[in-house]
Symmetry: C2
Subunit: 198 residues, 2 copies
DNA sequence: GTCTATATTGCGATAGAC
DNA sequence: GTCTATCGCAATATAGAC
């Protein structure tokens, strides 16, 4: 049971860091603040982390992988034609960015705070994700179900919108998560010229 | 002529700060780096600025005002119907974000680094700008020339895309500024359901 | 107005008692 | 594994010679 306690402490520290990095930024956040928020003294943190950057890496590390997995699963599980698969992928893409807004925001904002090595590994994963979204779009176009303009810019557009959502979404806002996802999905389908009632 | 030299020095310092804040972020940038980049020693900076935050304020301060002015002028100068005016406004909105990418990026990224007072003054200006864009969209819809879905989210969408452009645009990239502006303008008009060949 | 030198503060990280 | 105490360093900002 000792190791469960250890894991809980580490999680509490990550949660505190996530919150503070999100609101203040990585550089402006001190380990003393993180320790206080997690209920520790500074020195104790080092029983659970290697360094401050290690903490940032832990937070950023899983986000891209999870996003990739979530969207691919949604596409695979979708029933219907190419457009339905694309729609399911976009919905998953958008919902993920809202649901995990803080991590997503940190991931998009603090790339510059990582060491060169860590940064390039994450950049590589992002490029692969962009490429996957691009394939979804081109498949729809090739099937004659959409009238795209520029694949790469469509991808950028979808990423920009989702990233932006991560910066303002609140669960108690004017629109529910489902409504936001539905509206932005319609935006996306309109943008790539899908021929149906959107 | 002495005061011209003063102004040039101040400008060099702002330029250096702009570049460094853009690439490293405000907190990660030191006054020593800014001084070096501008060709001064640290102490000399204080003959031209009050503080580090003052420098950030100088940079962020004019961006929103300039954007607002630029877009309103473009709309006023546009010839043609409501859609043409909207199109001109969107093109100015997009071009501004690309042309002044560094300042725009800093303005969108470092709001958290400002003191409460400075931050709220800028937030207020942004809300007014969003409101202006919303009016343009609603006018087109009310004239029966578009089929909008949700005004506020359309505005967010346009801001998200332009902001994103500011983070990747390079003058020597695959697409020229004119091409980027044209493509994103078509995206926008499609998104709000303008009935014409876009 | 620029420089060197320094005051002051607070950071990330470590040592060692309990 | 947590704490207190502290190291070593670099930050913003200031003082005062030139």
């Amino acid at each position: 049971m000792i190791s469960n306690k250890r894991r809980e402490s580490a999680k509490r520290i990550r949660q505190a860091a996530k919150k503070l990095f999100f609101t203040q930024g990585y550089d402006a956040t001190t380990l003393r603040q993180i320790a206080f928020e997690a209920g520790f003294k500074v020195g104790s943190l080092y029983n659970h982390i290697d360094s401050k950057e290690d903490l940032l890496l832990q937070i950023m590390g899983s986000v891209i992988d999870d996003l990739n997995e979530r969207v691919r699963e949604a596409v695979a599980a979708a029933e219907g034609d190419t457009i339905e698969r694309l729609r399911a992928g976009l919905a998953a893409h958008l919902a993920f960015h809202a649901e995990r807004a803080q991590e997503v925001f940190i991931g998009n904002t603090e790339l510059k705070s990582l060491s060169e090595e860590a940064r390039s590994s994450i950049t590589q994963k992002r490029l692969e994700y962009e490429s996957y979204l691009g394939d979804l779009i081109e498949t729809a176009d090739a099937a004659g179900l959409a009238d795209t303009i520029d694949t790469k810019l469509h991808v950028y557009s979808f990423i920009a919108q989702a990233t932006h959502i991560a910066s303002w979404y609140r669960p108690d806002g004017r629109l529910s998560l489902e409504e936001i996802v539905e509206i932005y999905t319609r935006f996306a389908l309109r943008e790539i010229g899908v021929f149906s009632d959107n």
